[in-house]
């Protein structure tokens, strides 16, 4: 059964490993042609959530759809996604060009079109001079670039990127950010997991913060920062530190605690323009418990 509402949709998506809950009832609605910034501290469950959305891991409970297809339908999911894991899935023994041609053929791209696309991407990422060297001789950044091209080569509708700028020099990182921005111009959807908050701040239309398996807050970067503008100069970093702090102590002195937004004096009420853009998921989760 397909659904035609969102590029990515998840309803009560849960993953438990034994008694440990990695992702707890994740609800997502990602519009087509947007960048969704997926934030969270180490061990929050981001990778597990991405693995469920890319069909690599079965959810324990709940369901998710990519481009209207349930993630349980792996054949359909594969066709519509591109995935760059944290460690680029490249083979050291192949050259960069061979790697891309291999995955292009596996994706069933017509030969001429595949060659044109590969040449274009190699040129874009300054890799043409090294394309015929083995990947084992590549730097971390070059491997990352090849991994990213591989994820984009078949022009997928939805792209999952796990730390795509990791290991890249500033110029290459800028190229990646530009590419991500262009993808959304072409109505592709990008699900972006990263620790670099400035990247999310620049690119993301919507930001979700995962903490201990719970989506504790979600909204546009502007809406999230607006909610905690009790003092001047609040950034997404402050929001992140605030909502991922343990209940009680506040990580940043300038922002209120995890219950921000529920307080009409400070949270969403402070900027009426974004009042409807954001949801404080932590409260919901606490009620659920």
């Amino acid at each position: 059964m397909t659904r035609n509402t969102h590029a990515i949709e998840a309803r009560d998506l849960t993953k438990r490993f034994g008694t440990e809950t990695a992702v707890d009832g994740l609800d997502l609605h990602v519009e087509r042609g947007t960048v969704y910034g997926f934030l969270g501290p180490n061990g929050a469950g981001k990778t597990t959530a991405m693995r469920m959305l890319t069909s690599l891991t079965r959810p324990t409970d709940g369901e998710a759809w990519i481009d209207g297809n349930p993630v349980s339908d792996r054949d359909a999911i594969r066709a519509s996604i591109g995935y760059l894991p944290e460690e680029p899935p490249v083979f050291d023994e192949l050259t960069g060009r061979e790697q891309l041609e291999y995955f292009g053929r596996l994706r069933d791209l017509p030969a001429a079109e595949m060659t044109t696309r590969i040449e274009g991407w190699l040129d874009r990422f300054d890799l043409e001079g090294d394309a015929d060297k083995r990947i084992e001789d590549y730097s971390k950044g070059m491997r990352q670039k090849v991994g990213l091209i591989q994820a984009l080569l078949h022009e997928p509708d939805v792209v999952f990127l796990d730390e795509p700028t990791s290991g890249l020099d500033p110029r290459a990182a800028r190229t990646v950010l530009d590419v991500i921005a262009e993808l959304t111009d072409d109505d592709h959807t990008v699900f972006l997991s990263t620790h670099i908050l400035s990247v999310v701040e620049e690119l993301a239309d919507v930001v979700g913060v995962l903490y201990e398996g719970d989506l504790v807050t979600e909204g546009s970067p502007a809406a999230l920062t607006a909610r905690v503008e009790a003092e001047e100069g609040t950034t997404l970093e402050d929001v992140f530190l605030s909502v991922t702090a343990e209940r009680g102590p506040v990580a940043s002195g300038s922002v209120p605690g995890p219950n921000l937004g529920s307080d009409p004096e400070s949270g969403s009420g402070s900027d009426p323009r974004h009042a409807g853009d954001t949801t404080d998921r932590q409260d919901e989760r606490a009620d659920d418990r």
């Binding site: 034994g18 594969r78 996604i81 083979f91 023994e93 192949l94 291999y102 596996l106 994706r107």
Partner: protein, 537 residues
């Protein structure tokens, strides 16, 4: 893209990657060339043997010949299943970048590609030799029909045997990722399996394991491959069983493929058991090791404690200790089989215990520090604590066991009590001294980076070169003891010199001890100087 194109593409790239890996590894390339050169005469002899066998069986309608053909193919099938399964478990079923592949193509394409890869590798060898042998055999037998029949039988053995091996490997891997117990004991289990395997080979007891498997398979259609191969030879092969072999193979492959798809899906999409490595903290770290902290200086004690902890939590890094154990397995199995402990067993235990003691921690003093090496080198006078600590940790662990095992085996053997005492002293001195001997060799040929000790595990282990030199050194040092305590040599020496055999044994012990002390102390000085002067590259 047709259904079979993607598995073929996966297989082609896998083969290319493996070839490039081998080509880039001179040691591996030389090893393969060496094996190929060694196998060439055997292969030629096999082809000649096939020709002679063909001449022998031609026209003979005696019953045993067809039985032998059937038996040969059943054992051949067991071989393919066994080694194919082992390769699948160890190599094929953990492909690199599995996530990248599974988000691009289906698990069916991946497992299909991996089986095709193995099939191509096996075929390259078996069908080349097999074709030559089939032609020679047919020429000898004077039966042209035998060539296609024999080749077809060989192909069917491969085509059914390899998937069967994959099925077994997938079964084991699936059990491993789902069972917490199996997951925890995997290393131990593999060690036992490896030692048992070599013990079976060294004691020629392999047949006793294979025979029950043969008895199970003999009444099954696997037995029919022999009839297919022997069609046209006139030795009583059943044409119905020959046709049945083909039909069975088709049915088997269809069923196997369906099962392989399912098992591969279960394996690669499994959550897997998660074994956490939480360690209960003691109030005082030193209390765990009793009074050791009072005997050793604090830095040396620190090295010993860390060595033991790391060994317990990551025993795979001690993989070099397996070689002495494998060598020792043969004499032990022989003693168990015969029910007698000869004069040789205590010597084997002494030598192998000594060999193990030095190879555990002392053979890579610098490399064993891993990422902590820069910090270690910046600490105050690290050379003494590192060198002495690694020697002590191996000696304290292995020397008591070696001495006890040598003495017990000696008392059970025909050795006299004084000779056993002499052996005990040798065991003590050598197993303590072997670590000291290893330190200098280890710093001369350090290995600083982690290497793959299995398909999925990397660890910093001593370099092969260091281990080989160390092994030779241990043998040289232990030689006087071994010669002086071995039955024939000690008897001959005692007769020539005109003294009691115990005196010869004692002299051997003293000579070994003196050499071990000199070489050990010299080696430790070299190690100390190298560590002190070591600069990071």
């Amino acid at each position: 893209m047709t259904r079979g194109t993607r598995p073929r593409l996966v297989a082609r790239i896998e083969l290319r990657r493996r070839w490039r890996t081998i080509k880039g590894n001179t040691t591996q390339l030389l090893a393969i060339a060496f094996v190929a050169v060694m196998l060439l005469p055997f292969s030629l002899a096999g082809v000649l043997g096939a020709y002679l066998a063909g001449g022998f069986v031609a026209g003979s309608e005696t019953e045993p010949l067809i039985d032998w053909a059937r038996m040969a193919f059943v054992y051949g099938w067991i071989f393919v299943v066994g080694f194919g399964g082992y390769r699948a478990y160890a190599v094929a079923l953990r492909p690199d970048n599995l996530d990248g592949l599974l988000t691009t193509v289906s698990h069916r394409d991946v497992i299909g590609g991996l089986i095709l890869t193995e099939l191509a590798l096996w075929s390259a060898f078996f069908l080349t030799i097999g074709s030559a042998a089939a032609v020679a055999f047919a020429a000898g037998a004077g039966s042209v029909l035998t060539i296609p029949a024999l080749l077809l039988a060989l192909c069917l053995v491969l085509v059914t045997g390899l998937p069967a091996g994959f099925l077994l490997a997938l079964g084991v891997r699936n059990a491993g990722v789902r069972s917490r117990l199996l997951s925890r004991l995997r290393t131990l289990f593999l060690v036992f399996l490896g030692v048992g395997y070599f013990a079976l080979i060294s004691t020629n007891a392999f047949a006793s394991v294979l025979e029950p498997i043969y008895r199970v398979l003999a009444p099954t259609p696997i037995d029919w491959f022999g009839d297919l191969a022997a069609v046209g030879l006139g030795i009583g092969a059943s044409p119905f069983r020959a046709i049945g072999a083909v039909g069975f193979s088709i049915a088997f492959v269809v069923a196997a493929v369906a099962s392989l798809y399912r098992l591969a899906e279960w394996l690669w999409y499994a959550d897997g058991v998660h074994v956490t490595h939480e360690v209960e903290r003691s109030a005082d770290g030193a209390s765990r090791f009793g009074g050791l902290s009072r005997v050793l200086s604090r830095p040396v004690f620190g090295v010993v404690a860390v060595d033991w902890k790391r060994a317990r939590r990551s025993p795979i890094s001690l993989s070099f200790a397996l070689y002495p154990l494998i060598v020792l397995a043969g004499p032990i199995v022989t003693a168990v089989q015969t029910g007698e402990v000869g004069t040789g067993l205590p010597l084997w235990i002494l030598v192998c215990g000594t060999w193990v003691a030095g190879s555990l921690f002392a053979l890579n003093v610098l490399g064993q520090e891993g990422a902590a090496l820069p910090v270690t080198l910046l600490s105050e006078a690290p050379e003494r604590s590192l060198v002495v600590g690694h020697v002590v940790s191996g000696a304290l662990l292995i020397a008591p066991v070696t001495v006890a095992a040598t003495v017990v085996a000696g008392l059970l053997s025909p050795h006299s009590a004084p000779a056993v005492a002499s052996l005990g002293v040798s065991a003590l001195v050598l197993s303590v001294g072997s670590g000291a001997i290893g330190t200098g060799i280890g710093v001369g040929f350090p290995r600083l980076e982690a290497v793959s000790v299995s398909r999925s595990t990397k660890a910093i282990v001593p370099s092969v070169f260091a281990f080989v030199i160390y092994s030779a050194a241990v043998l040289v040092v232990a030689l006087p003891t071994v010669v002086a305590h071995s039955g024939v040599a000690s008897h001959a020496l005692a007769s020539i010199v005109g003294v009691d055999r115990f005196v010869i044994g004692l002299v051997g012990t003293v000579v070994s001890a003196v050499i071990a002390c000199f070489v050990g102390v010299g080696s430790m000085y070299v190690a100390r100087d190298r560590v002190r002067g070591y600069r990071l590259g």
